[in-house]
């Protein structure tokens, strides 16, 4: 199981923004989706997820609203704002640069 410290610092924000760029979700679904899509490699612990969600909302990148789920329960759904979409683009470009650089170093010689 991967601890939050195994994720590179700042990657969690990117994962959350990318996941929410598909559709608005609540916290539990975000964690689930990341785990499923990464084929159980990335397991976001809630201890890291919720503070990150609140921080992203505070920065104006996410908007949250209480809505009822399919099961009829009230849940806090997060959606990407326009500023959040711009931030996602920025973080994606940064990630590309970083991973390319790492790959170059690994494959040298």
């Amino acid at each position: 199981m991967s601890k939050p410290s195994d994720l590179i610092q700042g990657t969690l924000d990117l994962l959350i923004l990318r996941t929410l760029s598909l559709e608005p979700m609540h916290g539990w679904a975000i964690a689930r989706r990341i785990q499923q899509v990464s084929e159980d490699v990335l397991q976001v612990t809630q201890g890291a997820l919720y503070p990150a969600l609140h921080r992203l909302e505070q920065q104006g990148w996410l908007r949250a609203e209480w809505r009822s789920t399919d099961t009829g329960r009230e849940a806090k759904f997060y959606a990407l704002t326009r500023a959040g979409r711009a931030q996602l683009e920025k973080e994606l470009a940064q990630w590309e640069r970083l991973s390319n650089a790492v790959r170059l170093v690994i494959r040298m010689g």
Binding site: H26, G27, W28, T45, Q46, G47, Y50, P51, A52, L53, H54, R55, E57, Q58, G60, R73, E74, A75, K76, A83
Partner: protein, 206 residues
Amino acid sequence: MHLRQWFDIAFLRLRSLFGRGRVERELRFHLDRETEANLRLGLSPPEARLAALRRLGGMAHVQEECRDMRRTGYIENFVRDLQYAARTLLQSPGFAFAIVLTLALSIGATSAIFTVVDGVLLRPLPYPQPGRPRRNGAGNRRRVGAGTRSVEPALSSQRDRSSHFFGSLRGNHRHCRDCLLHSRAAGHGRRSYDGAARGVRSAAWR
């Protein structure tokens, strides 16, 4: 940052300051979903609940971290500090009284001393060229002549020479009244008094 965004953030902070139950509600929803998932995996209800709690890593801790992200912790801590201070002071009224007395005396003494320093040293005298004051006293009268106590002749002779002399009249109403009385008594000095008054006014405006 846009103004609109700033307002949104301010609103969010205010809300998280007063709506403390929201984070807990959100986490409780998560916990319930996690428990359901564990049940589907075949765990018994208590085990499912425990496993979900373990994964969450402590409700209170996560709640606290969420609130830290909103940076309302400072305000809450400050309010709690104030409450603590009030409680402690109420527990020992004698000590509180001594502290209040000490503060009152020291603030009073400091402001009294500063008032004197401000009036005497810092503030310039209230007329033009305050650095060149001229004593309007016995020295002038002696030059005017023996027997007369009127400053009127001295006043009209000095009117054109030194404007700050007239300026000094503004700060010293007693002299003004004196020269009014004397010029009335002399009968001829009315115009020169008016001139002096004009001089006073122009000195005041200069």
